[in-house]
Symmetry: C2
Subunit: 404 residues, 2 copies
Amino acid sequence: MEWTQAQRAKKMNPSVIREILKVTEKPGIISFAGGLPSPKTFPVSAFREACDKVLHEDGHAALQYAASEGYAPLREMVAAMLPWKVDPAQVLITTGSQQGLDLIAKILIDAGSRVLVETPTYLGALQAFTPMEPDIVSVASDGEGVDIADLQSKAAGARFFYVLPNFQNPTGRTMTEQRRAALSAEAARLGLPIVEDNPYGDLWFDEAPPRPLTARNPEGCVYLGSFSKVLAPGLRLGFMVAPKSLYPKLLQAKQAADLHSPGFNQRMVAEVMKDGFLGRHVPTIRALYKSQRDAMLAAMQREMPEGVTWNTPAGGMFLWARLPEGMNAIDLLPKAVERNVAFVPGWAFYADKADARTLRLSFVTSSVEQINIGIAALAAAIREQLPGTAHVQAERDPVALPAA
Amino acid sequence: MEWTQAQRAKKMNPSVIREILKVTEKPGIISFAGGLPSPKTFPVSAFREACDKVLHEDGHAALQYAASEGYAPLREMVAAMLPWKVDPAQVLITTGSQQGLDLIAKILIDAGSRVLVETPTYLGALQAFTPMEPDIVSVASDGEGVDIADLQSKAAGARFFYVLPNFQNPTGRTMTEQRRAALSAEAARLGLPIVEDNPYGDLWFDEAPPRPLTARNPEGCVYLGSFSKVLAPGLRLGFMVAPKSLYPKLLQAKQAADLHSPGFNQRMVAEVMKDGFLGRHVPTIRALYKSQRDAMLAAMQREMPEGVTWNTPAGGMFLWARLPEGMNAIDLLPKAVERNVAFVPGWAFYADKADARTLRLSFVTSSVEQINIGIAALAAAIREQLPGTAHVQAERDPVALPAA
């Protein structure tokens, strides 16, 4: 039987991370590789109560087909919780914020369209954009955010610039206020649309990050948010906020993609969120993740050989490290796995010109004890692999500078 | 701000049905327009028990990120319930079977690719395929199914033929065994892949429909199924069964689209389905829908003026009717709405050369009493609109012939 595949299918590749995670599947391994929130933070009992209430009071509606836009009370809650004036009519509930990326790709990318991303960037965005066959161009980025001059040189004709300003996946870095102001002004001047992805913004440790880019220019931005990190990812609920000029096409794409996101799940989340639940719940996640970040930073400081650098994420789930000159993280991984510790080589997160010395470490899924053991094992694997003759430079490393 | 939209976005249009349904939003209206299962059939208490059990026993896993392929026990249940030998590794759980259509479009359709559909066909499939910019070609179909000679004349170079053989949406018709055998043999001979959509197959009234096309040639078919009509649509769960040569690309497209379908919902459905629940539950749906189909057929017989024809669906949710010559269903709709009854003009379901005299009537959402009142009102609206001079032909109407 002849199955002729679309051109785009040939450009789609298995998730590198997925393949990497297979290598790390080993009983008892300490994994800093995943991007999973800590299940300790899932409000299971609140969900049990909400489920029962929704099915008891509103079961038939919750289980029926529903509007593609999403459950109205949830759209209103989303609009109300965002730090700029949002009309609930601009809110589209999505099947995870990953779906928002898929819908954006469908309505904004033609084959060959230029799409700008940060260096490095979220792998899931690259996967969502790739099927629409864009020309993806990396904009240089440092510990403070996007390099504005590089953006200027690359923006001509771009359909949009995809940015993840808060506690970025993979680097954990946060774009500074100064850089946001400059990016927002420059994008407006260039007429460059921005797609702002903010799954981690609520997970700050000491102070909230600067205002979103979308708040500064709502007509020029699409904003993506998620319930995965503040409630639970297994419900697959996210949202997007779109200018009124784009919303109808995004809605049509949503309808064609899966008709609507599960109404039952939307009601559960609305039920859990009412009465200010997130205001009480999210601080407990922040405290947990901060204590684990601190444990990882202390362990890195204690264990890592000279020449390894890393940043200090001000929130979120990830720390970004860089190996000494002459090493690369892909070669290191199997040696680390031998010592029962796993990470993701940073190479996977670059649209082009990957820095093979980088690695991503999640500090949220492992306990403090596991972090201590795992970082010691990782340091041992690095020491073992250190090039004997390597002249380890203490050079200023823009990627691995503290994020805030 | 300049938002340059993709070419495909310009080809996407608001759902005609959605726009039509807006016209019919009127308090107290009797609607035969929707495609909604009867909420009476939703096993709410079984879901309440299942929810509580899943969250109590397996809450953290149910709420965490999960495999893109789907929840393994549910994939096994799907494989086991299908009437041919299916390896669970070929089953991909989707966010409703609508998502299966989106994934197929992504990996099989290039701009300009020829895609074959029945006449008429499921509107949601047209919406899912359109963003990938195919050239959609309608294959002639009658009350017994696809016209094989017309298929032969149109198959050259087609990427696939999309068919919905059981109690089709919109016509309610079922493809006969003879026609299935001929289609299957011809598709194999032509090397023409088949996408078989089967959301309604379990809803038969007197006897199960003939074997699926996929069972006859699993390597040449992708099969789509759904839990929406046998359990509840609000959970947004469906599945696809794909040949091993296609599965990896579909999986990558799934991962890029929404990472995975909600693990919580998958566990709820698996929990409800174990111990043979569907074997007890589905017959109650069949009995209810059959009684409502019978009521609608009796009301049609009693009320409709000469020249109106309709079929006798052997299962599913829809009856297909055709107005006398000189009338059209689009003009009829506002007159029917004035009389508090709604339907969907069949025009919406044709990829090309629409038959404007056709209409789709759902018999599942309204009670027998509502069916009696609504069909009488519809017949009155038709009588009022009958062309005074119309010579109502009693011609043989292939579209509106009994389906079985």
